[in-house]
Amino acid sequence: MKPIKKPLGHFLALITKAAAATTFLVMAFLILYILINGLPHLTPSLFEFKYTTKNVSMFPALVSTIIMTALSLIIAVPLGAFAGIYLVEYAKKGNRTVKVVRVTAEALSGIPSIVYGLFGMMFFVTYLKWGNSILAGAFTLSIMVLPLIMRTTEEALKSVPDSYREGSFGLGAGRLHTIFKVVLPSAVPGILAGVILSIGRIIGETAALIYTAGTVTEMPQNVFSSARTLSVHMWALTGESLHKNESYAAGVVLLILVVGINSFSAFIAKKFIKEGK
């Protein structure tokens, strides 16, 4: 039998290698292509304070992106982290509420961003009358990243050894004291990795924002201003064939931001795991 298997074995080994090579090359090509074509178009005029149709500045979009990210995190991080704390530290096993929470969180993580966008448009923009605004966009995005923060918090808390809790209880500390002074400090890096991952998703999001935060090019005045984030800015530019170079430039900035942020998250998570061991 061996002589028959051998060429097949070689073939099988070859196709897995080819597939892995394809995956890697596609990634490398995509990144390099955008960088090489985009970097030369990163001109100072693209970062002028005020947007005009002439300079097509991405600066207001960058500021909006930062505000949008901060606001979404202010809403989503406490909710997600507290939810994670409840699931790990308080909930009893087999509790029905916990099951419902888990199922709904999983459902949330599967919903496409355009459906979030539709919901945000109908609920925050129209029903709550917030209009197209950073606030409506941030609330929409915070629901979107909530399951991610919940899950990473849960995993980080679970990785804290039970002996820490027992030690704290044994010394007479209450549950709350144990959570905030003993468990959370050692879970912070894990939670942080999840938060940073969420930042990456918020910055890269487009479909959920077009009809909630809008596409206004101006610098936002307050959270009720409509504004476009960098991703939405890039989307608007690609719609106008005149602005291909500016699209490349926006693509470069987005790519560097998101890939940098995700790598940072992976780095923190890795360091955390090493130290945990």
């Binding site: 919903i111 496409p112 990456g200």
Partner: protein
């Protein structure tokens, strides 16, 4: 601590314990409330339109012409568009993804793994708008040159989405392959099978429920993708005749027409979202069933 009895300090501690516990519990309910609200608003916004148009005419209507008199709201072209493009993405992304996962989990040398794993992470992190732009400036012209036709086609969208679902398929397949007990592999080797043979005919079949979950999640990602698809698929709301025709997906229908839609037209777009949502719910359900079966 005995001296603390009746101490106001302990009373306030008890208050905080209960207060925070309630706060944590309420936070945990956020996701339940969010899903509830999303369902209510989506269904209330879309289902009336389905009945005004006629459920059958809406889902199986072959013509989408909101500006005709009387307007026609048939979303069959968009449903088929989503299905074709998702099918194409699966054809491109799943074989590549599973083979890459097999290579990463079982065959690849340690130092190569340290390059491949982050590469997959990078692919997962790239925003869909950047993928879409890449598709627009690279894949569309390429398809157009090779087939000397308009490049905004099902084929271009399938290739692009095939790349976009790679990280999902690879990540989950890899976990599933790694979860297969080592004894399976050793047993196969002991019976005289080669390394590759054992991987393909023992380990992969043993990991099939996890790999299937990876494929289904890939389908979910592909069917829900919006921005990238709009930029490469052409967007014509008609039933395609070949993979070199342009199509419009359910997601694209919503984004493209929302800016100028009003009244029934707008409701019909929300109803398109409802159909998409139902697709996604079915996919979630399948994944949940698979997980339960796996355990």
């Amino acid at each position: 601590m005995a001296s603390d009895k009746g101490d106001p300090g302990q009373k306030s501690q008890k208050f905080w314990e209960n207060f925070m516990k309630t706060l944590f519990f309420i936070s945990a309910l956020t996701s339940v409330i969010a899903v509830f609200l999303i369902c209510i608003f989506l269904f209330a916004g879309g289902i009336p339109a389905m009945f005004k148009i006629g459920l059958f005419e809406f889902i199986f209507g072959r013509k989408w012409a909101p500006n005709d008199v009387p307007p026609l709201f048939g979303i069959l072209p968009m449903i088929m568009g989503s299905i074709y493009i998702t099918g194409g993405a699966i054809a491109v992304g799943v074989p590549t993804g599973i083979l890459t996962a097999a290579y990463m989990a079982r065959l690849c040398p340690q130092n190569l793994y340290r390059v491949l794993k982050p590469a997959v992470g990078v692919l997962a992190g790239i925003p869909s708008i950047v993928y879409g732009f890449f598709g627009m400036v690279v894949i569309v012209p390429l398809v157009s040159q090779v087939f000397s036709a308009n490049g905004n086609t099902i084929l271009s969208a399938s290739i692009l989405l095939g790349i976009m679902i790679l990280p999902t398929v690879i990540g989950i397949s890899e976990t599933a392959i790694r979860a297969v007990p080592e004894s399976y592999y050793e047993g196969s080797l002991a019976l005289g099978a080669s390394n590759e043979w054992s991987i393909f005919f023992v380990i992969l079949p043993a990991a099939k429920s996890g790999i299937l979950a990876a494929v289904i999640l890939g389908v979910g990602r592909a069917i829900g993708e919006t921005m990238a698809v709009i930029m490469v698929a052409g967007g014509q709301p008609r039933l395609p005749n070949s993979i070199l025709d342009g199509v419009r997906t359910l997601t694209a229908n919503i984004v493209t027409e929302m800016p100028y839609a009003a009244d029934l037209h707008r409701e019909a777009l929300i109803a398109t979202g409802v159909v998409l949502f139902v697709f996604i719910l079915i996919i979630n359900l399948l994944v949940a069933l698979l997980k339960r079966g796996g355990n």
